[in-house]
């Protein structure tokens, strides 16, 4: 059973609060991988990663047919954030049953707290030529992390948690 460290929780926040830009890696059911950078990230409980569903296309389609995902730090990498979090994900979209549960995470709790993420944690640190003109959030991806391995040079593949 995974329990995030303090450093992991600090890293898995939005970049403007000292966190990270992350990569969310998914796969189709027959093994076609997909990798996309995400800015809206947080932790929930001790073993869940939350990611806003704002502009997800292939990522969303993959999660709907195959819950296996990997999350890793894209930037900054030079602060010891050499982790890959592997687990199972669901996209809790608006309209989910209020009592929907994903490994202990409740849909009502998640959407009440994180359902308007752009307002709660606006992307003030994002350069103006990149920031999106209008945020349209459709849900929250909840990753139940089952294992963590390292991508630190010299220790790649070693189990961290």
């Amino acid at each position: 059973m995974v329990k995030f460290t303090k450093e992991m929780k600090e890293a898995l926040r939005v970049p403007g609060k000292g966190g990270s830009l992350i990569y969310l890696c998914t796969s189709s059911r027959d093994g076609k991988p997909n990798i996309a950078a995400m800015r809206f990230v947080a932790t929930h409980m001790d073993d869940k990663i939350l990611i806003a569903d704002m502009f997800l296309l292939k990522t969303k389609a993959n999660i709907k047919e195959n819950p296996n995902v990997a999350v890793t730090i894209c930037h900054p990498l030079d602060e010891g954030r050499w982790w890959v979090f592997r687990g199972k994900a669901v996209d809790m979209e608006y309209g989910f049953p209020r009592d929907f549960d994903w490994y202990g995470a409740n849909a009502t709790d998640i959407l009440n707290e994180w359902g308007n993420w752009n307002k709660a944690e606006p992307p003030d640190e994002v350069p103006p030529d990149i920031v999106f003109p209008k945020a349209v959030q459709r849900g929250v991806v909840v990753v139940h992390v089952e294992e963590v391995y390292s991508i630190e040079p010299g220790h790649v593949g070693e189990k961290v948690l």
């Binding site: 296996n68 930037h75 999106f132």
Partner: protein, 151 residues
């Protein structure tokens, strides 16, 4: 695009035939022509992805570090693990000289798909239908801070 890949390296994503993804860093990258990238992999990095690629050659990658936002592209293609030959020798030597990497293998990815991952209305747009010149023009309209480009 080529400059970002080579300057920052990439996050390499593979998946088993059953759809379980794994990630390692491609810390040294060499762009070869318009549709091929070679990554030098240390023994531990190759140890994670080589067994997966042996069963399923599909690879997706994005640029590491600031490139994740400043070079918002996703590249997809077919990967091949090389442990000998001219390409292996050339890339391994350059990786050792430039980044001190002892390459146990080289991952050659022949690119077949390119997507925009810039957040907003263009997210997910497929770009590999453009010619290289059209793509360069498209890129320069959006990003002005491409590493090592003079204009």
């Amino acid at each position: 695009m080529k400059a970002w890949i080579e300057a920052m390296g990439c996050h390499l994503c593979v998946a088993t035939p059953e759809g379980v993804p794994s990630v390692v860093l491609g810390r040294y990258a060499e762009v070869r022509g318009d549709d091929e990238v070679a990554f030098a992999l240390a023994a531990d990095e190759a140890g994670v992805i080589a067994p997966v690629i042996a069963e399923n050659p599909r690879v997706a990658f994005g640029v590491s570090r600031q490139g994740g936002i400043r070079a918002a592209y996703q590249f997809k293609g077919a990967g091949e693990i090389l442990q000998s030959g001219d390409l292996y020798d050339t890339v391994a030597a350059q990786a050792k000289e430039e980044k001190g990497i002892d390459a146990a293998a080289v991952l050659r990815v022949r690119l077949t798909e390119l997507y925009c991952t810039k957040p907003g209305y263009e997210a997910g747009q497929r770009l590999d239908g453009m010619t290289p010149d059209e793509l360069t023009a498209w890129e320069r309209q959006r990003w002005k801070d491409v590493p090592r480009k003079r204009d």
